[in-house]
C-alpha cells in the first residue's frame, strides 16, 4: 500500500473532505431547526 492511495469511499480526497464539511453543515441546519422549534 502506498502513501498516496485514494480513500476507500468517494474515490478522491477532495470529495471526502467535502462530505465531512457537508455533514457539518447539515448538523448546523438540524441544530438550528431544533433550537428554533421551541422558541
Amino acid at each position: 500500500m502506498t502513501n498516496e492511495t485514494p480513500p476507500p469511499i468517494l474515490k478522491t480526497w477532495p470529495r471526502l473532505y467535502a462530505a465531512v464539511l457537508l455533514a457539518l453543515a447539515a448538523e448546523i441546519v438540524l441544530f438550528t431547526i431544533l433550537t428554533r422549534s421551541f422558541h
Partner: protein
C-alpha cells in the same frame, strides 16, 4: 455501592490493564514503543484520537452542563470537522513524509532547535498540568459522591494507567483506548435509557424531548455575536477551529495518535472519522444531560448535588436557613411535577394555546427553584469559602448512584474510570515521547542505542505518572489555581498554532522572526487573560493571529542576512 457493582468495576479495570500489558508486550525499538511501529489502521487511530480528547470530565461534567444550561456547549466543537480536513491536507502528509516522532521534531527541520525546544517545553508544562487535572477532577467527583478517599482514588487510577502505559507504550494505549471509549459510550447510552424509562407511563421519548425543549434545554445554536459569551456559533466556529487546529495539529498527545497510522491514508481516515463523529457524539452526551433534567422534573432531585458540602452546611450555623431552603425546594418540586404533567397533557392534545400556558407556568416554577438553588449554593460558599459554588459536575454521578440498578452502577463507574484512564494514558505517553525525543535524545544523550532509549522512555512514563499523581494529590489545596490550570491550554495553543502555521505556509519566514513573533503572541494572550474579560476561546484566535502577524512583520524588518537564519 453493592458487591455486584464492585465486581463489574474491578473486573473491567483489571481486564483493561491485562489487555494493555498483553497487547504491548515485547517492544524493543523506539519506533515500536512510541509509535506502535506505525502499523495502526484508521479505526484504531480514530477511536484513539477520540478517546484522548474525551476524558472522564467529558462524561461527568457535560451532562451536568446540559442539565443547568442546555445544549449550547456543543457549539464549541463546530470548528473541529473543519480542522480535521485542514490537518488531513497539511500536517498529516508532512509529518508522515518526514517520519517524525513528535510534532516539535518537524520544527527543527523547518526552523532551528530553538523553535523545537521552545514548543516542546511549552507542551511539557501545559500537558503535564493538563494530565494531572484529567486524573484529579474525576477522582474528586467520584470520591465526594461515593464517599471514597480521594487520595486512594487518585492513586488507584494513576497506578493502573502507569502499569500498562509504561509496559506497552503507544500500542497498549491505542488498543485499550478503543475499548475504553466504547465502554464509556455504552455507559452513557445505558444512563439515558434508564432516565427515559423511569419517566411516568404516559411520557415517552418524544414527550421527553419536547419537555426538555420547552424548558430551554434544546438550545443548541446561538447566532448572537458576543465576545464575552463562551459558547455561541461564532466563538465555536472560529475559536473552536483554532483550538482544534492547535490541539490536533500541535499537541503531541494527539499528533502521536495519528502518527501511528500505517500510511497517510490511514491517518487521514482516522482524523476525518473523528471530524464526522465528534459533533454528534458531544450532542449525544449533552442529550443524556437533558434527559436527566427531564427525569428530575418527575423525581425529586436534591437541593444541591455536592453531598459533602450539603452535609457540611446541614451541621453548621446555617443549618436552619438551609433546611428552610430544602422545604421550599420540596414544595416547588411538587408544584413543578404537576405542572410538567399538565404540559405533557397539553403537548399530547396539540393545543398551542394550552401548551404556551402550561409551559409558562412550568418555567415560572423552574425559575423559582433555580433561585432557591442559587441561594443554597451561596449559603454553601458562605459556610465554606473554599467550597466549589458550582455543583453541575456532580449532577450526572448523583443520578447514576441514586437511580441505576445494581450492576449498572458498576458499569457506569467503569465507564468513567475508563475515560479517565484513556485520557491520562495518552498524556503520559506523549509526555514521555517529547521528553525523550525532543529533550533527552536531542540535548542530553545523543549516542545511546535504540533499546536504551526505550528503557529511558519507560522511566519517563513512570516519572510523568508520578508527577501527575503528586500534583493531583495536592490539587485540592490549590484553590482557584485549578481554574487557571483548566484554561492553561488556551493560554498557549494560539501561539503554538501560530508557529506551526508559519512553518507550514509562510516559507519565507525564518527562525528568528518566528521565535520573537511567538514571544509577542504569548505576551498578548497573557495580557488578554489578565486585563480583559474576553472569553477564553478567543485567546486562541488572538495568539494565533498576533503570532503569525508579528512573525511576518519581524521577517520583513530583518536585514537580509538574518532571513537566512
Amino acid at each position: 455501592m453493592r458487591q455486584a457493582d464492585w465486581i463489574v468495576l474491578i473486573a473491567t479495570l483489571a481486564a483493561i490493564v491485562i489487555y494493555g500489558v498483553w497487547k504491548g508486550r515485547r517492544q524493543r525499538r523506539l519506533e515500536q514503543y512510541l509509535l506502535a511501529d506505525r502499523q495502526m489502521q484508521w479505526y484504531t487511530v480514530a477511536l484513539s484520537v477520540m478517546a484522548t480528547q474525551a476524558s472522564a470530565i467529558t462524561f461527568l461534567s457535560t451532562p451536568g452542563q446540559a442539565y443547568t444550561d442546555g445544549m449550547r456547549f456543543v457549539q464549541f466543537y463546530l470548528g473541529l470537522p473543519i480542522a480535521m480536513v485542514i490537518l488531513s491536507v497539511t500536517a498529516v502528509p508532512i509529518y508522515h513524509r518526514l517520519k517524525v516522532f513528535t510534532a516539535y521534531e518537524y520544527l527543527e527541520t523547518r526552523f532551528d532547535n530553538r523553535a523545537r525546544t521552545f514548543t516542546a517545553i511549552i507542551f511539557l508544562v501545559q500537558r503535564g498540568l493538563g494530565t494531572a487535572m484529567t486524573l484529579f477532577a474525576p477522582a474528586l467527583i467520584v470520591s465526594l459522591v461515593l464517599g471514597w478517599n480521594i487520595h486512594l482514588t487518585t492513586l488507584a487510577i494513576g497506578v493502573l494507567v502507569i502499569i500498562y502505559t509504561t509496559s506497552g507504550g503507544t500500542k497498549a494505549v491505542s488498543w485499550t483506548q478503543t475499548h475504553q471509549l466504547l465502554i464509556a459510550l455504552s455507559g452513557m447510552a445505558i444512563a439515558m435509557t434508564v432516565a427515559i424509562r423511569s419517566l411516568p407511563a404516559n411520557i415517552g421519548f418524544t414527550e421527553a424531548v419536547k419537555v426538555a425543549g420547552h424548558m430551554g434545554r434544546m438550545n443548541v445554536i446561538d447566532f448572537n455575536f458576543d465576545l464575552s459569551t463562551p459558547y455561541n456559533f461564532w466563538s465555536g466556529l472560529f475559536g473552536g477551529l483554532m483550538v482544534a487546529l492547535a490541539y490536533f495539529g500541535t499537541d503531541q498527545s494527539q499528533v502521536q495518535r495519528y502518527l501511528t497510522g500505517e500510511t497517510i491514508t490511514q491517518s487521514r481516515l482516522g482524523l476525518l472519522f473523528n471530524g464526522l463523529v465528534k459533533v454528534p457524539m458531544q450532542f449525544f452526551i449533552l442529550f443524556v444531560g437533558a434527559m436527566v433534567f427531564v427525569f428530575y422534573q418527575f423525581v425529586a432531585p436534591p437541593l444541591t448535588f455536592n453531598p459533602v458540602q450539603s452535609e457540611k452546611v446541614r451541621t453548621s450555623a446555617h443549618a436552619a436557613e438551609y433546611q428552610a431552603l430544602e422545604a421550599t425546594h420540596a414544595s416547588t418540586f411538587t408544584a413543578k411535577r404537576e405542572a410538567a404533567l399538565q404540559l405533557v397533557t397539553a403537548i399530547d392534545s396539540g393545543d398551542a394555546a394550552s401548551i404556551a400556558q402550561k409551559k409558562s407556568a412550568l418555567q415560572t416554577l423552574q425559575k423559582r427553584d433555580d433561585e432557591t438553588r442559587k441561594t443554597a449554593l451561596a449559603l454553601i460558599k458562605k459556610n465554606d469559602a473554599r467550597a466549589d459554588a458550582a455543583d453541575t459536575d456532580y449532577v450526572f454521578l448523583t443520578f447514576v448512584m441514586q437511580n441505576l440498578p445494581t450492576g449498572l452502577v458498576g458499569v457506569l463507574l467503569a465507564a468513567i474510570f475508563c475515560a479517565a484512564m484513556s485520557a491520562t494514558a495518552s498524556g503520559l505517553n506523549s509526555l514521555a515521547s517529547t521528553s525523550v525525543v525532543d529533550i533527552w535524545k536531542r540535548l542530553i544523550r545523543k549516542d545511546l542505542d535504540d533499546h536504551t532509549y526505550v528503557i529511558v522512555s519507560k522511566w519517563m512514563t513512570v516519572f510523568w505518572g508520578a508527577f501527575c499523581i503528586v500534583f493531583a494529590l495536592y490539587a485540592n489545596q490549590l484553590g482557584s489555581l485549578i481554574v487557571a490550570v483548566n484554561r492553561v491550554g488556551s493560554l498557549f495553543y494560539g501561539t503554538m498554532l501560530a508557529i506551526f502555521l508559519v512553518a507550514f505556509y509562510a516559507k519565507h519566514v525564518g527562525a528568528t522572526a518566528v521565535f520573537y513573533g511567538a514571544l509577542i503572541a504569548e505576551a498578548t494572550v497573557l495580557l488578554c487573560w489578565l486585563f480583559t474579560d474576553m472569553a477564553w476561546l478567543w485567546w486562541n484566535v488572538v495568539g494565533c493571529v498576533v503570532g503569525v502577524g508579528a512573525a511576518m512583520v519581524i521577517q520583513a524588518a530583518l536585514p537580509r542576512t538574518a532571513t537566512q537564519q
